[in-house]
Symmetry: C2
Subunit: 391 residues, 2 copies
């Protein structure tokens, strides 16, 4: 009944690496104390103003701004202690071969501290943290401080990403053939760095926002006939899916194409894959795929574009049946995207201009409604062949 | 490049069965016309008042109430035509070896009909349907009318359910070993009736509401040491997960245990697995698992119960850290559940009473926070061993 099952070598290795990094980063505090200094943490700031777009590498990252958390400063002491509390809990979990979630870490650290004020002699109570928002923020600080993602500390999470295609991987001691999943798919694990790529026969990776469209392309064997690794993020991508896609691009050199709905929300999903998430820019160095290509659906696919000398993929009557009016929120979101440097290219300008002019949007499903064969045999291969994607 | 890949025999069989049923159900309309009768559809009503709890079989089902849709009745003609339009689109998709989604079917059928009023001579326009809500409702009518689920008509959908365990299945021509998924999992297909169960070595099925808890139990090999098929619905279960679980119970005779959060929302998830969804009761005959057992988390697991002579699994101090105050909505939901016959048992009364008294709830994660080993080595096996579940 006991669950002291032997861990895989990759798991053991990941654990001792994370423990070593935690140790080496926090040992400095002991040195502080021994030397009579006030123990102080110096952490890079995770603020918007300290978030920079790095054009050389094409991704978001944290700037050089730091903040310090000193044990003996009354404004910093609580955060200081929260950070140490969290580091301790994670270290224990690593040592005990556990796999906590961020929710677990919140619960494990939540407790009430009773104190007596030295001056007023009054007693009081203070919670280590009140809400998960607070403990999550501490985990993020820790990730920045030790320069390691939570996945590297074997912290698990809900996982939505799926893959099928001609590829064999190794995970948890098993060899998994991603071409033998039947009508189902392989659900990507929450710690994608533990995956070993064995061999593959594919020319590119196609990442599809919508799970139902992924299911359809899978069902007709699109990945077989086109030699492609088919991935779905099932909406806004989680961290593991982003890391997995990045590894396919970086380690195997496979081009990555993103297929999302034709609206500012879909463009944002592409943007998260490509440059990272704006509020969590410290993750981008590991999770972003700067070379990801936006394949569609483009406004110019719907309406064509004289500027691009491009004919539309949809007829007038198809447009009238498939198009949805853009909402106020869509237009606000487009305004936002226009401010981002990586959308300020001539090619994106054309797309955003058509969006502004037509005030309409379109879902990927409109293309499968025109015909799954149209999507699979015409739209996707011809766009890839002629290079109709945005770098 | 073409996608006329040979279909699996199971797929071909499913297609011709669905086409045959559609044909035989709608041919009656032709007979009506030939005999000079007004073509009329008679469909069982999908209303709340026509939804009954069948205590013999322990599931919800539609009653005998019907409605009719006649071609020559001005109030019924639109629905009549919508039903025929949808049936025609689905028939075509089956014939063309396609796999539409319900979103596709909405788009495919959406068009504008121009007409001229015979009396006033005025012209007008009318859309086949405006929103997907409308076309979805037509699909449901069709499911009831032909007594076949949309999955049987090869209509695909987004799919969240996952499984791991000692079992081999066959799907889409592939043999899949669900015990060789590494740290990932097998993502259940949207048409679970096409799955063939080959062999298995398991004593029961454990269905977990939370994906992250599934990931944790999977990671420590819970399914290996306990000989269990581990399933997650990742929240409110979708139809394919429900059908798959039902098949595991019905065809293999495996007991099914549901583990959800300890709150009225978690109890409702259990209820959907067990008796079906209240608004879509016509599905229950195929999707519900009347023998599903509620394993936990129970209010009596948290607080114990003198009535049940049961000690709590949590200490006083664990309770104070893990428990969440129930919201107004939780309490409203509890009121609702109390009205359902299948919650009106002495055992459920105890649970609901504790909920009312304590006005608190608890997540499964509280148990993994107490310790994943506690959940895996103590809580789950001891509850199953002593039979501390609700039938």
């Amino acid at each position: 009944m006991s669950h002291d099952a032997p861990l895989t070598p990759k798991d053991v290795e990941a654990r001792s690496r994370a423990m070593e990094v935690l140790r080496s980063k926090f040992i400095a505090l002991v040195d502080d104390v021994m030397a009579g200094r006030v123990p102080t943490l110096v952490i890079r700031k995770r603020t918007l103003t300290n978030t920079l777009y790095d054009d050389v590498n094409g991704l978001l990252r944290l700037g050089e701004g730091t903040l310090k958390r000193s044990f003996l400063n009354v404004n910093e002491a609580k955060k200081f202690m929260q950070t140490l509390l969290m580091a301790g809990i994670i270290y224990e979990a690593l040592k005990n071969n556990e796999y906590p979630t961020i929710r677990d870490l919140y619960y494990r650290g939540k407790h009430t501290i009773k104190y007596r004020d030295l001056v007023s002699r009054k007693t009081g109570e203070e919670n280590s943290w009140e809400e998960q928002k607070e403990s999550d923020s501490v985990i993020r600080d820790l990730e920045v401080f030790i320069d390691m993602l939570r996945e590297d500390m074997l912290i698990l999470s809900k996982e939505k990403g799926k893959i099928v295609g001609n590829m064999r991987i190794k995970s948890g001691g098993d060899v998994i053939d991603l071409s033998k999943m039947g009508h189902g798919a392989y659900s990507i694990e929450p710690t994608p760095d533990l995956i070993e790529f064995l061999d593959y026969d594919a020319e590119y990776v196609l990442v599809i926002e919508k799970d139902a469209v992924f299911q359809q392309l899978h069902r007709i064997g699109y990945w077989k006939t086109n030699r492609v690794l088919l991935v779905t993020s099932a909406g806004q991508p989680d961290r593991a899916t982003r890391r997995f896609v990045r590894r396919l691009n970086e380690e195997l050199g496979l081009p990555v194409y993103i297929l999302s709905d034709c609206d500012p929300y879909g463009w944002y999903i592409y943007s998260v894959f490509k440059v990272g998430s704006i509020t969590l820019s410290y993750e981008s160095e590991r999770l972003a795929t700067p070379k990801a290509r936006f394949l569609g659906v483009m406004m110019s696919d719907i309406y064509g574009s004289p500027k691009l000398n491009k004919k539309p993929y949809l007829t007038e009557s198809e447009r009238s049946n498939y198009i949805i009016k853009a909402s106020e929120r869509d237009r606000d979101r487009a305004d936002e995207l226009e401010n981002y440097k990586w959308f300020q290219t001539p090619r994106w300008k054309v797309e955003i201009e058509i969006f502004r002019e037509k005030r309409s949007k379109l879902e990927i499903e409109a293309l499968t409604s025109k015909g799954l064969k149209f999507l699979a045999d015409t739209y996707l291969p011809s766009k890839i062949e002629v290079g109709d994607w945005i770098a």
